[in-house]
């Protein structure tokens, strides 16, 4: 090895130098030795091949020739500082180094530096590895990771994120590279964070490819604080640098929302089925009752006529007529209920005062007859509703109030309202006999009546309830026996068009 220009030449020395040369040539890395001024004083064949120079060209050449232009000017300073603190180390730790070939191409390299002190001065030995192949492999890996439609995150044994693809970053709302080096717990909603390091540790010590949180609903935490439903597959990866966990994350928001919608639709169908069943049951029962009456009284009439007994004929005929009228009523009411079931609402801003005026006008005769006093708030609200249906609802409630206050000494009907945060609540209050709380749910059922002495089939509150459902609203009653009744209607301020 020719180390310095002035080394004495003898046969032993030559032999040593030949041996050294063999060693240097056998190293699979490129070897370059540089003196204090930055001139190349030694190189091996691998270094020549790597940079595309002949040995004669390299020897004596400033090492900066092999440094790409963008860092070339800084290189002498780096070299100086290394000479002042010459510890054996990797060059440009953490940065991507490139070397400049004679043909102008840049090659990715890794360089190890060492310092040699001889009596001819200080030298720096650089061991250079051409990592073009490795870079290509890494690039390939990167491309694969990026092309996967899932979010990919790799975490080290300490829980720090060492790799993330752009899908993962997009999913969680982070920018490129922002996740690197951060704890993976930052992607987990607060309420699950506590246990995660323990779970993570358990997985690291007993790794197996599996779904995370099997059977549970997992959520991820986005940068903006919102949560997304996710599915996560875990995979342990062994590398020379140690064990990593590769998490493949799927955002299932869409699937979840479809699932939810499907489930909701299913529930609705089930509900409709139950309603239908109830409907058929009620109808068959209630329509049959007047039929039984007429058939039986026709039988009695026949008997009486045969026996020449006319004492009860008129009574029987009256009962027959009543039964037939009732059947007609039931059929009309059924048609009405069925129409409401498939009705489309025509939303508009409706002043409830106007509707109430119409309702009262139509009921004028009955009001006259019952001598009921009406009293309503002067500031009745304007609400989003279907005008006709709202009129129908108020007609029923006012009609009921008139019907049930008819026995009171001073019948009084009061209409007022309440401005709740998300809904307008309208109340029709009467001083009638009131309704025991145990019947509050029952009275909204089809053909349910608490007092069969009052006229009607028991369809009114069913209609009210259906119309309120169509509006996405509610109806309920506040009442105690003997305390009068308050029927409350709640209309959403933002129309809920679910019923459309």
């Amino acid at each position: 090895m020719h180390v310095g220009p002035a080394s004495p030449v003898d046969s032993g020395h030559l032999e040593k130098e030949a041996k050294l040369r063999t060693v240097i040539e056998s190293v699979p890395n490129g070897i370059i030795m540089v003196d204090e001024t930055g001139k190349i004083t030694l190189c091996n064949t691998e270094a020549e091949r790597m940079f595309g120079y002949e040995r004669d060209e390299l020897l004596g050449m400033p090492v900066e020739t092999l440094v790409p232009s963008q860092v070339r000017t800084k290189h002498p300073t780096y070299r100086e500082s290394f000479l002042h603190d010459p510890s054996k180390r990797q060059m440009g730790a953490g940065r991507d180094l490139t070397g400049l070939r004679k043909d102008g191409a840049e090659i990715p390299v890794e360089i190890g530096l060492n310092h040699i002190k001889t009596n001819e001065g200080s030298f720096v030995v650089a061991s250079i590895v051409d990592i073009t192949e490795r870079k290509k492999q890494e690039e390939k890996f990167r491309t694969i990771v990026e092309s996967v439609p899932n979010g990919i995150i790799m975490v080290d044994t300490g829980g720090s994120i060492t790799l993330s693809n752009s899908e993962a970053e997009k999913m969680f709302g982070y920018s490129r590279g922002e996740l690197l080096g951060k704890k993976v717990e930052m992607l987990i909603p607060m309420r699950y964070q506590g246990n995660h390091p323990i779970e993570r540790d358990r997985f690291i010590h007993h790794p197996q490819k599996r779904q995370m949180g099997a059977g549970r609903d997992l959520s991820g935490l986005k940068k903006d604080g919102t949560e997304i439903p996710v599915e996560i597959g875990l995979n342990p990866i062994e590398t020379p640098e140690g064990r990593y966990i590769l998490a493949s994350i799927l955002d299932i928001s869409e699937r979840k929302s479809i699932d939810d919608k499907l489930h909701q639709a299913y529930e609705e169908v089930q509900q409709k089925n139950r309603e239908m069943e109830q409907f058929v049951y009620t109808v068959s029962h209630d329509l049959k009752a007047p039929l039984v009456t007429s058939m039986s009284f026709i039988g009695f009439l026949k008997e009486d006529i045969r026996a020449n007994d006319f004492s009860t004929v008129s009574d029987s005929l009256q009962r027959l007529e009543k039964a037939h009228r009732r059947m007609q009523e039931l059929i009309n009411d059924l048609l009405q209920v069925s129409r409401i079931g498939r009705m489309e609402l025509h939303y508009e801003k409706v002043p409830t005062k106007e509707i109430l005026d119409e309702v009262l006008e139509n009921a004028a005769e009955r009001i006259q007859a019952t001598k009921a006093q009406f009293d309503w708030a002067t500031d009745l609200p304007v609400i989003w509703a279907d005008r006709k249906r709202l009129a129908q609802v108020l007609e029923n409630l006012v009609g009921n109030a008139l019907k049930y206050t008819s026995d009171a000494t001073d019948p009084l009907v009061h209409v007022f309202w309440n401005d709740a945060p998300t809904e307008i609540q309208l109340c029709v209050k009467d001083n009638g006999p009131g309704i025991d709380p145990q019947y509050h749910a029952k009275i909204f059922g089809l053909f349910q009546r608490l007092d069969s002495s009052k006229e009607g089939t028991g369809v009114g509150l069913t209609i009210v309830s259906r119309i309120m459902q169509l509006h996405g609203g509610r109806v309920w009653v506040n009442s105690e026996s003997g305390q009068g009744a308050e029927f409350w209607l709640a209309f959403p301020k933002v129309p809920n068009r679910k019923g459309l």
């Binding site: 029962h285 009752a289 039984v292 009456t293 009284f297 009962r319 019947y439 007092d451 069969s452």
Partner: protein, 149 residues
Amino acid sequence: MIVEEVTRPRRFLLVEDDDDHAEIVIRTLKKEKSEKRIDRVLDGVEALQYLRGDGSFRGIALPDVILLDLKLPKMDGHEVLAKIKTDEKLLLIPVIVLTTSDAEVDRVRAYRLHANSYLVKPLDAEQFNKMVQDMSLYWGIWNRSPQSA
């Protein structure tokens, strides 16, 4: 037909909200010869008041047979049935459900609640007649209840 001498008239309690149906049952029962007394109440709540001797029903003797409609205002027939059959003082009284409903769900529920019989009101007048008379004969005469005189 040898009919055992009845020492006192049989007492029926008819729980029926429909005036016409009540009239049909009462008229038909009266046609059948045996001596009997029929009381009628309008709904489930009144039925229990009657059976427990509450209010205006104070001092009234328990009926021999209860004829119970199912679709009643306020408390429906099934609820009344459940109350009777869990009341130590009432549970021995035969309860005959008499209803327009032939729905399986109603029949099963009634028998589960220990109804003693389940009769569906026939549409045909003659059949209705025959059924009520048979019922009266069976439950009023032939059937020996625990408390038969």
